[in-house]
């Protein structure tokens, strides 16, 4: 059994009511993306989204490792605000620390924030535990 732990990432949030800048802690984990023989130069923070069926990445991240985004199978994602997002599916390699696995990921020109979902990410782990009060997440594989 291997276990990796990531602290939540503090990000800024402007509270309109109090007019103050606060911190909001988000479960972001650094993931390196690889495609065929091309490995991303740096890890990119992805939101662990247990409510997402699939992983959804910005198209530009795929392009950075040489993926011809529009050559993938066209898929529609349905999200918050009842909006459809057009995506293109590709098989990629994801690296979380030293753990490496092949997964499907959907890339969209309409998505800015990379997020990893249950099928394509969570299913590659034995357990993913969110520690909300302590602001960290543990991934067991």
């Amino acid at each position: 059994m291997s276990l990796v732990k990531f602290d939540y990432t503090p990000e800024v949030f402007f509270n309109e009511k109090t007019r103050k800048v606060e911190y909001i802690y988000r479960p972001l984990i650094p993931i390196r993306l690889a495609y065929k023989h091309s490995l991303g130069k740096f890890p990119v923070n992805c939101l662990l989204d247990s409510g997402a069926d699939k992983s959804l990445f910005p198209a530009q991240w795929g392009e950075a490792v040489g993926i011809k985004i529009k050559s993938g199978e066209e898929i529609i994602h349905y999200g918050i605000g009842n909006k459809d997002i057009k995506c293109f599916r590709h098989k990629v390699i994801l690296l979380v620390g030293t753990y490496k696995f092949e997964a499907e990921a959907d890339f969209s020109f309409e998505q800015s924030f990379p997020l990893v979902g249950r099928d394509g990410f969570f299913k590659h782990f034995k357990k993913i535990a969110f520690h909300e009060k302590e602001h960290f997440v543990e991934l067991e594989y």
Binding site: T9, F13, F14, V44, A52, S112, P114
Partner: protein, 62 residues
């Protein structure tokens, strides 16, 4: 997170930034992942994490 870090985050909403692996410093920023990678390359930085900065006045509900 110190004041300068917070200020840099606020000024980079909807941009991509590179953060040191200990999350203490913002090393580069840009409109795209590729732009940030290029800047890191010029600075000869090999250890960083790239992250998108969402708008600070919105909750994130993907």
């Amino acid at each position: 997170m110190n004041k300068a870090y917070k200020k840099t985050l606020l000024s980079n909403q909807n941009n991509w930034i590179a953060v040191s692996s200990d999350k203490s410093k913002i090393l580069a920023s840009g409109k795209s992942i590729q732009e940030v990678e290029k800047k890191l390359g010029k600075l000869d930085i090999k250890d960083a994490v790239i992250t998108f900065v969402p708008p600070a006045n919105r909750y994130l509900s993907p």
